[in-house]
């Protein structure tokens, strides 16, 4: 497993207390509680290996960005964190994904319960063809959270910075909203059931720059309340929103065929300022990808 052994020591340091060089240059202790502990995860679609030997720790109440060129398994990885890949019949995962110490892929784990705690927002806004209100109220209703539904909907829409724009037309169809509003509605829908983790799979890549800015601002306000993992193609976006950044690239697997893997994971400032791996340096400096 050359891909795994080539991982910089930085990744392993993550299993101990994290330190970060602050703006003043001083170092401070960071919270160490982790939400996900990923051990040696490889993902296969049929016989094709899509992700190889990922070890990663995702800390609580922070924003972790996954960056890297296309086809390096970022989306595969994030979808493995709430078992969204289960619907792909040829999907197979080796290794271990621990969520608060529980193996996500253990036999007694119910994937519906997993997703109730680990919400996800997708690349393309996908509101239901229902009213704005019903979109946000849908999951709480189906999960039996009927008490104080109006307050819950309002809270979620405020949380997604959408309330002021839609409060007078909650009964209107969600498909009449702009793309950026639809995506914030999807975020409101996800936080309405107060999950523990929010997974954002390129949430702004289908949006214009102004809508993108409002989504990024929203991510800032949501961190602290939720643990956030975001996949992005956009390095500036990662630099703007993320506390930690993980760079996925191509490593060589046993067969010699290049396959996506985690190259380096560290504080965002480190990844963009002083990366340990030359592949990371090449990528963030724009030399490839």
């Amino acid at each position: 497993m050359r891909g795994a052994s080539a991982l910089p020591s930085r990744v392993r340091i993550q299993s101990g207390p994290l330190t970060e060089a602050g703006p003043s240059g001083g170092r401070r202790e960071l919270p160490v509680e982790s939400v996900f502990d990923v051990h040696g995860v490889s993902v296969f679609y049929g016989t094709k290996r899509a992700l190889d030997g990922v070890n990663m720790r995702i800390p609580r109440s922070r924003v972790t960005a996954l960056i890297g060129p296309s086809g390096c398994g970022k989306s595969t990885f994030i979808r493995s964190l709430n078992r969204m890949n289960d619907s792909v019949s040829s999907f197979r995962l080796e290794g271990q994904v621990l969520y608060h110490g529980h193996d996500l892929y253990a036999g007694n784990v119910d994937e519906v319960e997993v997703r109730r705690r680990i919400g996800m927002v997708f690349q393309k806004p996908n509101p239901f063809p229902k009213s704005i209100y019903d979109n946000v109220a849908w999951a709480p209703r189906n999960l039996g959270l009927r008490r104080g539904l109006d307050e819950r909907v309002e809270g979620a829409l405020r949380g997604a910075a959408l309330w002021d724009e839609v409060k007078d037309r909650l009964k209107d169809g969600a498909l009449g909203l702009s793309g950026g509003q639809q995506q914030r509605l999807c975020i409101a829908r996800a936080i309405a059931i107060e999950p523990d983790v929010l997974l954002l799979d390129e949430p702004a890549s289908a949006l214009d720059p102004i809508a993108t800015a409002s989504i990024e601002e929203l991510i800032h306000t949501l961190k602290g309340r939720f643990t956030i993992v975001i996949v992005t193609h956009n390095m500036q976006q990662a630099a703007r929103v993320a506390d930690e950044t993980a760079f996925f690239g191509l490593g060589a697997s046993d067969g010699g065929e290049p396959v996506g893997t985690l190259i380096e994971h560290a504080e965002t400032a480190t990844i963009f300022g002083n990366p340990a791996d030359p592949r990371t340096r090449d990528y963030v400096s724009g030399r490839f990808g």
Partner: protein
């Protein structure tokens, strides 16, 4: 590269074998057009001759009165038969479609084949089957038995039609629902089926149109009745249009023939109306689904 295959400066008229290829293409196109025209012509001739023969019998009394003047009770009876059949076939058909699209793994393909076979099996077989199963056992013809036979005929139409519209519901909806920690069945019930409602209605209407004209099962299961007054008892036979047409055409009187044609025209008209209505509904729901 050798010589160029053509002279780029020559006038832009056909060269090489293009003249022949154009002729073949024209023949194929006119063959296809002719085929389509024949299909339309057959329908046109049938509708026209039914109308011409039946128009003399048509009147308000004919639609409202009982036998021997009209077909009122038979219209009511056919409505009842089709209604009960729909109540039986629609829930099952929709569930079958939900299974095929949302849950069916390896079993989906054989079930789809089964449905297609069901769509093709002769209605007289259904008639004999239900006759042996229910009419013989109860020693009685009944509307409910006839409705079960009609439901068997409708089922595959509703299931296959619903399956097609369920496939039109974007997968993004299923992913969105799954990512919210809601079980698959709740998602089907509250997101997928509501967005496919128009198409389900369409499939049901097409099933109704098919069942309303089925005659063979009814001759065995629901043919001994008095057509002079309305009877609605589902446990007994009820008058109905297809058997009325059959009986009238067996009568050796010109008046009977005219009434048979008239009843045939009424049935044909209702079925065509249902078909057009179904298309309109489907077009509307398609537009809604793809904003």
């Amino acid at each position: 590269m050798g010589e160029p295959a053509f002279d780029p400066a020559a006038p832009l008229t056909p060269t090489g074998n293009l003249r022949r290829r154009r002729a073949v293409s024209r023949v194929a196109e006119s063959g296809a057009t002719l085929g389509a025209a024949i299909a339309v012509a057959v329908l046109g001739i049938v509708v026209y001759s039914v109308f011409v023969h039946g128009v003399s019998a048509l009147s308000l009394d004919f639609l409202l009165e009982g036998e021997p003047d009209g077909i009122g009770p038979a219209l009511v009876g056919t409505a009842e038969l089709v209604l009960i059949a729909t109540l039986i076939a629609m829930p099952i058909g929709v569930l079958v479609a939900v299974y095929l699209v949302e849950f069916g793994g390896r079993l989906a393909a054989p079930i789809r084949l089964t449905l297609d076979v069901m769509n093709g099996y002769p209605s007289i077989i259904v008639g004999v089957f239900i006759f042996a199963l229910i009419v013989e056992a109860t020693h009685k013809q009944s509307a409910i038995a006839a409705s079960i036979a009609l439901a068997m005929i409708m089922l595959s139409i509703i299931a296959r039609g619903t399956e097609e519209v369920l496939r039109l519901v974007p997968d993004a909806m299923r992913e969105a629902a799954a990512a919210l920690g809601v079980s698959r069945w709740r998602a089907v019930l509250t997101v997928i089926l509501p967005s496919a409602m128009g198409g389900i209605a369409t499939a049901t209407i097409l099933g109704v149109a098919r069942a309303a004209g089925e005659t063979a099962p009814l001759i065995l299961i629901d043919s001994v009745w008095d057509g002079s007054h309305v009877s609605l008892d589902p446990l007994g036979p009820v008058p109905n249009i297809p058997v009325t047409i059959y009986k009238l055409s067996e009568e050796a009187s010109p008046e009977g023939f005219a009434r048979a044609w008239g009843a045939g025209f009424v049935l044909l008209f209702l079925i065509m109306l249902a078909n057009v209505g179904a298309r309109v509904l489907l077009a509307r729901s398609r537009r809604r689904m793809a904003p």
